[in-house]
């Protein structure tokens, strides 16, 4: 089935794509990277990585509970991710940006995450142990994707991207300067709640492919890399998406030919890009500094 990697890249790709599951993985990878890139870009900009990570992790008990009760895992992912997003959005004090407020809201986020994971442990136990399906909830299963999965993914992606297109400008304003935005009549708190719900829907959908633990990598890594490279919003959003798609595709190919888990290959490539971007910016800073002072 897997002929191994040869240096003839064309035949490699032909071999890889002769499998329907690999073609679906590449299709899903495109949609997943696009979705996670756009939402993750705002998450990184708004410094809501912790909230995003917690909401992502709550998908795991959702899926475990759904499977234990005989429902579809998708229902569990969406129920728990949207539910925890709502709890975090409604119970956080104020905008959650001041240091004192951040202490309270971060404690809240941590408790939501830890309790959700404890529920996950409970359902795992009731379910009868760590089976391959529970492993997929945590670490993902990029290679068992059906045509139907791709269609629902595209549908969710369209809804989420449309919502982001509608609120994007105001959300950017509210993220960069909440005080001024609020004075200009932008509903900062409402946007925060809406954004967290969009984030919840995104991680619920993406988790089906990447697993609850690794969805966060796709959210944070391409966006962080792009924001290191440039401060201009449109350009860095574009870099995020392109980088996300490339990293996912190359990660899939590496996983296929190297017999590795996709979680490892995709995060390693994305982290490599981040480190390179960081090093490039530091190097540029060191090189430019004497010129500025002179």
């Amino acid at each position: 089935m897997n002929p191994g990697f040869s240096w003839n890249l064309v035949t490699d790709v032909q071999w890889m794509w002769s499998l329907p599951s690999m073609v679906n993985a590449f299709r899903a990878g495109l949609a997943v990277a696009l979705l996670a890139g756009v939402v993750g870009w705002f998450m990184v900009l708004r410094r809501q990585s912790f909230a995003g990570h917690s909401i992502a992790v709550t998908g795991f008990p959702g899926a475990a509970a759904a499977v234990y009760l005989g429902l579809s895992a998708t229902l569990g992912y969406f129920g728990f991710c949207l539910g925890s997003a709502l709890v975090i959005a409604l119970l956080s004090r104020g905008s959650g940006t001041g240091v004192g407020e951040r202490a309270h809201s971060s404690a809240l986020i941590a408790v939501v995450q830890a309790f959700a994971l404890a529920l996950g442990a409970l359902f795992l136990d009731l379910y009868g142990g760590f089976l391959s399906s529970t492993s997929a909830f945590l670490f993902g299963d990029f290679l068992g994707i059906t045509d139907e999965d791709v269609l629902t993914l595209v549908a969710v992606a369209l809804v989420v991207l449309l919502t982001m297109a509608l609120i994007g400008r105001r959300l950017l304003f509210a993220s960069v300067d909440p005080a001024v935005a609020s004075a200009r009549g932008v509903p900062v708190r409402g946007l925060n709640i809406l954004f967290l719900l969009v984030l919840g829907a995104t991680v619920a959908e993406v988790s089906k492919f990447t697993g609850s633990l690794l969805v966060f990598a796709l959210l944070v890594m391409p966006a962080a890399t792009a924001q290191v490279l440039t401060a201009r919003p449109a350009r860095s959003l574009l870099i995020t998406i392109v980088l996300g798609v490339l990293v996912t595709w190359f990660g899939l190919a590496w996983a296929y030919f190297g017999n590795q888990a996709t979680g490892f290959t995709i995060t390693s490539l994305a982290f490599g890009c981040y480190v390179l971007a960081y090093a490039a910016r530091s190097a540029r800073g060191v090189l430019l500094r004497p010129a500025v002072t002179a």
Partner: protein, 291 residues
């Protein structure tokens, strides 16, 4: 209940771990470094699975990875506090590495059916009831040592937390304290992961501390409340799991912790709606921190 020796060892280990988590967690929440704790709980997963994959003692992997990454976080940030985005990137990748070690470990273990999966569950969700009495004594000793260390640096650390600039100007070694605290978090994370698992470590760090912060604005009272609550959560959780068989202990510990926190949230909402006195306290922890 105490006739069963495993309950006693769990209680001894749990007390030490809860005490350390309560004290460290209070500063973690106050310094808005909860995300660091979150990250370390995933680092612990990778460390443990790396140790399993290479066939060395689990504890070596746990402590080495947690302390090392904690210090790396310090080095990457200003004054020993790393940026959320940097933390997120580093630990997302470390988690990816964890998956790599998990694949390595479970494929090597494939001969003996399912033990790889069971070990993975233990790493993720802990097995406080499976500790030996020797491990429990070590857990208690490490817990007490961490608690003592936190209490020793509590005053300057509090100063450095609430007003970094003034503390620095007064000669408080802000940077050094930041690193010392990160090492303490790392040690606590490594120890607690063995008992409650890498996934629930965060709850034990943040829930008692978050509750204490809601109940009182006075820092040293809060520190004490946080430690007491941590021990309370673990004790009640252990007791409940003893009487409700076939449910994971970690779940009950977290359920008690989350219930206590929810009660505190409700209490603070009600007391803010109906204030007891019209005069506001002159300087509360959170108001100083947010100014």
């Amino acid at each position: 209940m105490f006739h069963d020796s495993y309950m006693l060892t769990a209680l001894v280990a749990g007390t030490g771990i809860a005490l350390a988590c309560g004290l460290v967690g209070y500063f973690l929440v106050l310094r808005a470094q909860v995300f660091t704790g979150d990250a370390l709980s995933h680092v612990a997963f990778t460390g443990a699975l790396a140790a399993l994959a290479f066939g060395i003692d689990l504890r070596v992997g746990l402590f080495a990875s947690c302390v090392l990454i904690a210090v790396v976080f310090g080095a990457l940030g200003r004054q020993g506090r790393a940026d959320d985005v940097v933390i997120g990137n580093v630990f997302a990748w470390v988690l990816g590495l964890g998956v790599f070690f998990m694949t390595l470990y479970t494929t090597n273990q494939s001969g003996s059916s399912g033990s790889g999966g069971n070990q993975t569950v233990n790493v993720l969700f802990g097995s406080i009831l499976g500790l030996s009495s020797g491990q429990a004594t070590v857990a208690l000793a490490i817990g007490l040592a961490v608690s003592l260390a936190v209490l020793l640096i509590a005053r300057p650390l509090l100063f450095a937390t609430l007003d970094e600039a003034v503390a620095g100007a007064r000669g408080v070694p802000v940077r050094f304290l930041g690193y010392a605290f990160l090492v303490l978090i790392g040690v606590t994370a490594g120890e607690a992961s063995q008992a409650v698992g890498s996934m629930l470590l965060l709850g034990l760090l943040a829930a008692p501390a978050g509750t204490a912060l809601l109940l009182t604005d006075r820092p040293f009272v809060g520190l004490a409340v946080s430690a007491v609550l941590g021990v309370f959560d673990v004790w009640v959780g252990l007791a409940v799991s003893y009487f409700v068989p076939n449910t994971p202990t970690s779940f009950w510990i977290m359920a008690v912790a989350a219930a206590t926190y929810a009660a505190a949230v409700a209490y603070s909402r009600i007391s803010r709606r109906f204030p007891r006195s019209t005069t506001r306290p002159a300087a509360s922890v959170t108001s100083v921190a947010s100014s």
